[in-house]
């Protein structure tokens, strides 16, 4: 076509993405490049992790030293305590784990790993982030409005959450629901992109079983999310009406039923924990195969276990409600389904352990994080079994035992898994190698304190300590000195851990500014993202260099080859499939 070059440029500017258009930081809000959107999600998530971590610091200080003036915050009133706990949980799950693991890494990795130049719907992708950004503003606003942030726990059980005369936070609680609802919409839009991109835009030659596990996991997680969040969205609408219009969906006084919300919430809430688990497990699969130079032990087994976990996860929700006043016969059914989930997840863990067998293991920083994930997640997983046994849950429900259980799952996922992924793909994302020595310091100074925070909480939970209590002095049996000392141990460990994050940020800054330049494939890994430049250009590959796939992603140490890796896109002389 004989269009003058300037016109082509202008055309390009109008339709096309990242580095054109509005000036300043605003231009990023309007980018449609999946990598830019991934960064936006990641930095928002990182920022929210700091807020969530700060909240943990404040309320843990209050627990260890009741009534002190917490440096950086001040005195913690009971209402503030509840609001801090509520929003700590909310932020960590919905604004840290989900955006970082699912949205950031999903956006970054899916197109690169399936050999596409972008998501299939870049504009929907951008819209997804914009809605997410809006939800972030709403939830942050909810913390500072008149009356304070919502303080009815992240599970938001009505009637407490539905009625301002009970929760005393008229604005905060409505903004909280609106924020969470918007966030769900953002992830629905993002999920549609993830799923269709994997289904339709794979590189020529890439069959379903050539897709890297992490992509599978993120997509299955998106499907799980999509199929479970609907009822809660409907519930959120009802809750907002209860709060603002005065309907009585959840109010027994007008014929409503508070337990209904619990069903809607947990029907989503339980699949949700696997929504965040799966991406992390996928990241671990990539890393351990790369650094053990091993083929994944049973690729298909892993796929089957995640599908089994996904399906089962829809049938276990009432294990959160054993003693909530549901029909006791239901507890029997849900005990069975809950325990059944241990089978696929155990299988998945065994597969990962078996993958190490016969390997040639390199303990780089990402590998340390990935291995730590397995070691720590096992604790979280097996303690879930105590809770799944309804008889034992009578005692454990809403104690710190539950709390320690889910921090032993969430922390490995949201923090360990994130650091694993971040350090593994950092060279690709920023074009620089990270400092290994600093990385290892950061690793040990995070992992060791982590165990010292939450092991004591298991003991406290076993001793009968309940959640969401701002000061145990009111309970003589819980106020005994050695319990208090355990709380202090946990808090002090948290302080150490938080301080250790400075190493991480320093490492990021230093590596980004002065790090060694990263080659295309620093880890000598197989999947497609390593075949392009670091960082990948706009469009990921030159249009005529888009990869073609010849084999699965885990062909490490194949006998009779000189190299111990075999990139997916390296032709083997037999021609494309």
């Amino acid at each position: 076509m004989a269009e003058p070059a300037v016109a082509v440029m202008a055309h390009h500017e109008e339709e096309d993405h990242a580095h054109h258009g509005p000036e300043g930081w605003l231009k990023y809000l309007w980018s449609t490049d999946h990598k830019v959107i991934a960064m936006q999600y990641m930095f928002t998530g990182m920022f929210m992790a700091l807020i969530g971590g700060f909240m943990a610091y404040v309320f843990r200080m209050q627990l260890a030293f009741p009534g002190i003036n917490v440096p950086g915050f001040g005195m913690v009133s009971p209402g503030e305590y509840n609001a801090l706990v509520t929003n700590h949980g909310t932020l960590m799950i919905f604004w840290v784990a989900m955006p970082v693991l699912l949205a950031a890494f999903g956006n970054y990795l899916i197109p690169l790993m399936v050999g596409a130049d972008d998501m299939v719907f870049p504009k929907i992708n951008r819209l997804s982030f914009q809605i997410f950004f809006l939800s972030t503003i709403v939830i942050l606003a909810s913390l500072v409005v008149e009356g304070g942030g919502f303080a009815g726990a992240w599970t938001a059980y009505p009637p407490l959450s539905a009625n301002e005369t009970y929760n005393l936070t008229p604005l905060g609680s409505t903004l909280w629901v609106v924020g969470v609802g918007l966030e769900f919409v953002a992830f629905l839009l993002g999920g549609i992109n993830f799923i269709t991109t994997l289904m339709n835009s794979r590189a020529p030659g890439m069959r379903a079983f050539d897709v890297p596990i992490v992509v599978w996991m993120i997509v299955v997680a998106s499907i799980l999310f999509m199929l479970s969040v609907g009822p809660l969205l409907a519930g959120a609408i009802m809750l907002i009406f209860d709060q603002t219009l005065g309907t009585g969906f959840f109010d027994p006084a007008t014929g409503g039923d508070p337990i209904l919300w619990q069903h809607l919430f947990w029907f989503f809430g339980h699949p949700e924990v696997y929504v965040v688990l799966l991406p992390a497990i996928g990241v671990v699969a990539e890393i351990i195969t790369t650094f053990a130079r091993k083929k994944l032990f049973g690729y298909r087994i892993v796929i089957f276990t995640i599908v089994a976990t996904g399906v089962l996860s829809f049938f276990v929700w009432a294990h959160h409600q054993f003693i909530a006043g549901i029909d006791p016969r239901m507890a029997n059914i849900f005990t069975v389904t809950t325990l059944l989930i241990s089978v696929p997840i155990a299988e998945m863990c065994f597969v990962y352990i078996a993958t190490l067998y016969g390997g040639s293991i390199r303990l780089t920083t990402p590998m340390l994080w990935a291995l730590a994930f397995i070691a720590e997640f096992l604790i979280g997983g097996v303690t879930g079994i105590f809770l799944g046994a309804a008889g034992a849950d009578i005692y454990f429900h809403d104690t710190y035992f539950v709390l320690a259980h889910f921090h032993y799952t969430f922390f490995p996922i949201a923090i360990i898994g994130t650091f694993a992924a971040f350090s593994y793909w950092f060279p690709k994302m920023f074009g620089k190698m990270m400092d290994e020595r600093l990385g290892k310091w950061h690793f040990w100074l995070t992992i060791i304190p982590f165990n010292f925070i939450f092991i004591p909480l298991f003991v406290l939970g076993m001793g009968g300590q309940h959640r969401r209590i701002y000061n145990y002095a009111h309970f003589p049996e819980l106020a005994i000195p050695w319990f208090q000392n355990m709380r202090i141990v946990a808090t002090v460990s948290l302080l150490v851990m938080l301080a250790a994050q400075l190493i991480f940020f320093y490492n990021c800054y230093k590596s980004w500014r002065r790090g060694q330049k990263a080659p295309r494939n620093p880890w000598r890994a197989n999947s497609l993202e390593w075949t392009t430049e670091s960082p990948p250009p706009h469009g990921n590959w030159r249009p005529d260099e888009l990869p073609v796939v010849y084999r699965g992603p885990y062909e490490y140490s194949v006998p009779d080859r000189d190299d111990d890796y075999w990139p997916q896109s390296e032709p083997d002389g037999r021609g494309a499939r």
Binding site: N82, Y157, V343, G358, G359, S360, L378, G463
Partner: protein, 242 residues
């Protein structure tokens, strides 16, 4: 003493949490059973894992094995454990069922007394049957944040809430039940140890959730009847129950 009684007192013996009711040892036994059942797997998994990490470290000139796990001989290492996990699950489920049925489903008949427990923001109201041992009669004794019961007696409770969800929890009795506004939920307990213990509210109920504490006073028969006598509303003190 049966197995449950002997083993189930472990947490009491090590001073972590007292056993204060007739079914507390059942729960503790179940917890210990799970601890052993998953503990075995946990230790096995972690030790194999650590062993592999140490054993299969990178060595110069040595290439990793190529095992893809599709061959039967290798897959065995996954299938057998996975079937075994299933067997352990069954064991846990069976014992859990028994405990659950005993505590939450099979309400023992002919209680010695029925009490009512009412949760509201942010206090517990306890309605004791009083001298006539009948609930909802004029001589009922109402107390706030203090439940008085007689050791060894079988109690039924009716649990109610006035505003939001609360949860009636007495850790030493291993009892916990949510209180739902608009409903009355029945349950039971039988205290076995004399003393004074914490009542906690285990469901977040707003600003004062953290101070919604109560005490149970488990008393010997003499103390208990003295307490009833002293607290019976004056108008009914002398009149025997109809």
């Amino acid at each position: 003493m049966g197995l449950v009684e002997r083993v189930g007192h472990f947490f009491d013996d090590i001073g972590l949490i007292r056993i204060g009711s007739s079914y507390a040892a059942d729960i503790d036994f179940l917890i210990l059973l799970v601890l052993v059942a998953v503990g075995v797997w946990f230790l096995a998994a972690e030790s194999v894992f650590m062993y592999f990490i140490v054993k299969f470290r990178e060595r110069p000139g040595h290439k990793a094995d190529y095992i893809d796990g599709t061959n039967k001989r290798h897959k065995r290492w996954i299938t057998y454990p996975h079937l075994a996990v299933l067997a352990f699950d069954v064991l846990i489920v069976v014992v859990s069922f028994k405990v659950w049925h005993k505590i939450k489903m099979d309400l023992p008949e002919n209680p010695d007394a029925v009490i009512r427990v009412i949760g509201q923001q942010w206090a517990w109201t306890f309605q004791h049957p009083g001298a006539d041992a009948e609930l909802d009669t004029p001589d009922d004794i109402f107390t706030v944040d203090e439940l008085h019961v007689e050791n060894g007696k079988l109690y039924h409770f009716k649990l109610e809430a006035l505003d939001v969800l609360h949860s009636f929890s007495v850790p030493v009795w291993r009892i916990k039940q949510d209180a739902v506004p608009g409903r009355s939920i029945t349950g039971w307990f039988q205290p076995t140890v004399i003393g004074e213990f914490d009542v906690q509210c285990a469901e977040i109920c707003g600003f004062g959730h953290g101070v919604m504490a109560g005490r149970v006073m488990v008393e010997d028969p003499a103390t208990h009847s003295a307490w009833i006598e002293a607290n019976t509303p004056d108008a009914y003190a002398a009149v025997p129950a109809e």
